[in-house]
């Protein structure tokens, strides 16, 4: 900035930068406010013409439409609860998708750096093919072509080892369901979590005082599992029961059934996001120069120690921020569920709109839900970056 002239009183106000800045902002805000006021005015006029009033009371009305996915729900429940079921479904498919995409992505990312030429090439082809085909095309492929056309009818289902059945109606697999004594056992889970967290804290401060690296999580995990096991034997009757899908006259009963649209969405999202995660992992590992490994082995660290103490902490700092934005992308992309009939929050939201005609309110609710997820992710990322900055030189 140029140095300001010392005697500011000699400058007329229309050339005084301080005044001009205030005026510029006031004019800008006034323009924005006028625009919003104009839109709002139109909205009110249009709503009046159609006899609607903005308000969220319709959420307490009976929904009246079925949702065949997720939490226990019946059409007699209210709209607000239906929307909540949609949110839980979005979180469900996103959470499972994130786990699968991460596992797949890490494997493929490491494979791209493999010393085996064939493995490297296959991983490269995977990434280049998947990233350059629109996600919606892939979802349609999984849903309409694979799930609804290629898979057999229920009576000739494909039987995979472990009592997993693939059919045109969905995927069936064994599952543990809670029994009556699960409630008692749940207290042991809670207790195990609390004690485990205590052990984690204790171990961490101990290690810090001793200035020794280590994995406090292993101790905490062991304690947690021990408490769970103890609870399992103390509780009368088994808290969980294994059920296996059995083919009846028309369909499978028992076990866990995944709907076709859920399976297609999960597959599509995981396969697509894994390609991007693979690139992030590859870039993160490549970002650590070879000299680091050499220097670490020169001071006598073992291979495991090098990975744990030198490579991973640095690579993770490069990997985690873009990884978090991929997780967020996956969650946002799960909104494509509406096009293949999975009841996520977007789908339930638009259904409620179709039933009630509440356009403004539903759009606000849907956007607010996604924005909350984005905001929470970016808050977590800011916290992480702040913590990581302390380590930086």
């Amino acid at each position: 900035m140029a140095k300001k002239v010392a005697s500011s009183h000699s400058i007329p106000f229309w050339r005084d930068i301080r005044v001009l800045r205030v005026i510029a902002q006031v004019v800008f805000l006034a323009l924005i406010a006028a625009g919003i006021w104009w839109l709002f005015n139109n909205l009110q006029y249009n709503l009046q013409a159609s006899g609607l009033k903005i308000g969220f009371r319709f959420l307490k009305n009976t929904a009246g439409f079925p949702i065949s996915e997720g939490l226990h729900y019946s059409p007699t429940d209210v709209n607000g609860y239906a929307f909540f079921v949609g949110i839980v479904n979005t979180l469900k498919v996103s959470a499972i998708g994130i786990v699968i995409a991460t596992l797949l992505g890490v494997i493929i990312g490491i494979s791209r750096l493999s010393s085996n030429w064939l493995v490297k090439k296959i991983a490269g082809v995977y990434v280049e093919v998947i990233r350059n085909i629109p996600l919606l095309v892939q979802l349609f492929f999984w849903y309409f072509a694979v799930m609804l056309t290629a898979l057999p009818l229920v009576k000739n289902s494909i039987h995979l080892p472990g009592a997993i059945y693939l059919t045109r109606r969905g995927v069936y697999m064994p599952w543990a369901i809670p029994t009556d004594s699960f409630g008692t056992w749940a207290w042991y889970i809670l207790g195990g979590l609390i004690v485990g967290a205590g052990v984690y804290m204790f171990r961490r401060t101990q290690l810090k005082r001793a200035e020794r690296p280590g994995f406090p999580i292993i101790w905490a995990g062991t304690v947690f599992i021990l408490i769970l096991a103890a609870g399992w034997f103390i509780t009368p009757g088994n808290p969980l029961k294994l059920t296996i899908p059995v083919l009846n006259k028309f369909n499978f009963t028992g076990g866990l059934s995944l709907s076709t649209s859920f399976t297609a969405l999960l597959l599509g999202l995981s396969v697509y996001t894994a390609a991007f995660i693979a690139e992030i992992v590859r870039a993160g590992i490549q970002a650590i120069s070879k000299g680091q490994t050499e220097a670490a082995s020169a001071v006598g660290l073992s291979k495991v120690q090098i990975l744990r103490l030198v490579i991973l902490p640095q690579a993770l700092r490069v990997i985690i921020p873009p990884l978090a934005s991929q997780y967020l992308n996956l969650t946002k992309n799960s909104s494509l569920a509406i096009l293949i009939g999975y009841y996520d929050l977007m789908n339930v939201g638009t259904t409620i709109f179709n039933q009630t005609g509440r356009a403004v309110e539903m759009i606000l609710l849907i956007m607010a839900s996604y924005l909350t997820m984005s905001l929470l992710t970016s808050l977590a990322m800011n916290y992480y970056n702040k913590r990581m900055k302390l380590v930086e030189r």
Partner: protein
């Protein structure tokens, strides 16, 4: 859908790539496929996997009913566009290939390669068994590229030629839209705009990127402004748009936009879709441009200040040209993801390539051709996106991004 495109290492002037070593086949095999027990097992397992996969795919491809593609090619590419008006699309393609050829002739380098590719592809396509008419049209594209190339080659000695070229490029977008859509008074307006197949994907992506470019620049400048009110509003806009999926905005465009506008303004569905992707892409464009702005060292501002340029001149003459040059690859990446995102148009009943194919699948005559159609669509998108990302990597190299 954010892209994290890979950056290839490029060699500077004083740096030479390592010499290429000739390795005998057996040693190559040993080093790259059988260097250890583990690697040998991996190689065997994956070879079997690949062979089985390719055999299965080959068997399927030989038995597939590929005739569904040529029989519906017109529907997939331009949808319900009337046949008697199809010359307009060809004219547009001629105009663009002429401009590409001209740029290739006058500038060389990457544009030259692209125009060569167009010429070669049009000759190859003309060999395929299309109708005689279509072959003629296709060959015309190669010819117009060639004419453009010659004109550019000899025209470049005139000082104004390149300026005229840039002007023509800028004009090409409105001219294209007028030609394809028609304009009242001059050319009859074509009806049924909401089902034009692949053409809608292309138009949507080009319009979206072109319109979001200026808005994105303004938003990026606004986000870096010293005035808190402007900064706050711009940041809020960018973050809100980036925080929600495109499909929610499309939903909003299809049902809520008419509530926000006066009752006598009822934009056409396609226009609303274009407005939506422009608003959506502008936020992402702003972040790309901001990335470029942040990469400009402070010294550039100080030097501009020292020679007496004011803020406006500093931005337009010193900072922006450098920043935009840096973000060209990122913008190409954004164009690719926008092109892929146009498949969501189907959600608001605009039948682009992916959704118009569903009408063929619903046709009794073509029952059971679902895999063929999805494979075709996947290949079309893949070819387009992969070649664009290849071009983007080439631009990156020729601009020397990452070397300075």
């Amino acid at each position: 859908m954010d892209e994290t495109r890979k950056r290839s290492h490029t060699y500077g002037d004083d740096e030479l790539p390592p010499p290429i070593e000739r390795i005998p086949v057996l040693r190559w095999l040993k080093e790259n496929l059988f260097s250890s027990w583990f690697n040998a097992i991996l190689t065997v397992v994956f070879t079997v996997f690949i062979v089985v996969l390719l055999l299965g795919l080959g068997k399927w491809a030989l038995g597939a009913r590929w005739e569904v593609i040529p029989a519906n090619l017109k529907l997939l590419l331009v949808g319900t566009y009337p046949l008697e008006d199809i010359w307009r699309i060809w004219t547009t393609l001629y105009l663009i290939s002429f401009l590409v050829g001209s740029a290739g002739g006058s500038r060389g380098g990457l544009m030259r390669q692209i125009s060569m590719t167009i010429a070669i592809v049009s000759v190859v396509l003309a060999i395929l068994p299309f109708g005689l008419m279509t072959r003629g049209w296709i060959l015309g594209m190669g010819a117009s590229t060639g004419i453009g190339f010659l004109l550019g080659h000899f025209g470049k000695r005139f000082r104004r030629y390149k300026h005229i070229e840039i002007g023509l490029w800028v004009l090409s977008l409105p001219v294209t839209i007028m030609l394809v859509n028609g304009i009242s008074g001059l050319l009859p307006v074509v009806e049924g705009r909401n089902s034009w197949g692949l053409m809608l994907n292309i138009i949507g992506a080009i319009v979206g990127i072109a319109l979001s470019f200026p808005i994105g620049i303004l938003l990026a400048l606004g986000r870096r402004s010293e005035l808190p009110a402007i900064r706050l509003i711009c940041t809020a806009y960018i973050e809100i748009i980036r925080g929600v999926p495109l499909i929610t905005l499309l939903f909003m465009a299809s049902i809520m936009l008419q509530l926000l506008l006066p009752s006598n303004v009822r934009p056409d569905l396609l226009i609303r879709a274009m407005m939506t992707i422009t608003a959506f892409e502008a936020a992402y464009m702003a972040e790309n441009v901001r990335g470029g702005l942040q990469a400009i060292p402070k010294g550039q501002y100080e030097a501009a200040n020292a020679v007496g340029l004011n803020k406006l001149l500093t931005t337009t003459l010193i900072i922006m040209p450098q920043a935009l040059r840096l973000v060209i690859p990122a913008i190409v990446g954004q164009f690719i993801s926008l092109f892929m995102d146009t498949t969501l148009f189907g959600f608001i009943a605009i039948l682009e390539l992916l959704h118009i194919s569903r009408s063929i699948m619903g046709n009794v005559q073509w029952r059971g051709t679902i895999f063929e159609l999805y494979v075709f669509i996947g290949v079309v998108f893949w070819l387009a996106c992969y070649s664009m990302s290849y071009i983007s990597r080439r631009i990156e190299k020729s601009l020397g991004v990452g070397e300075r």
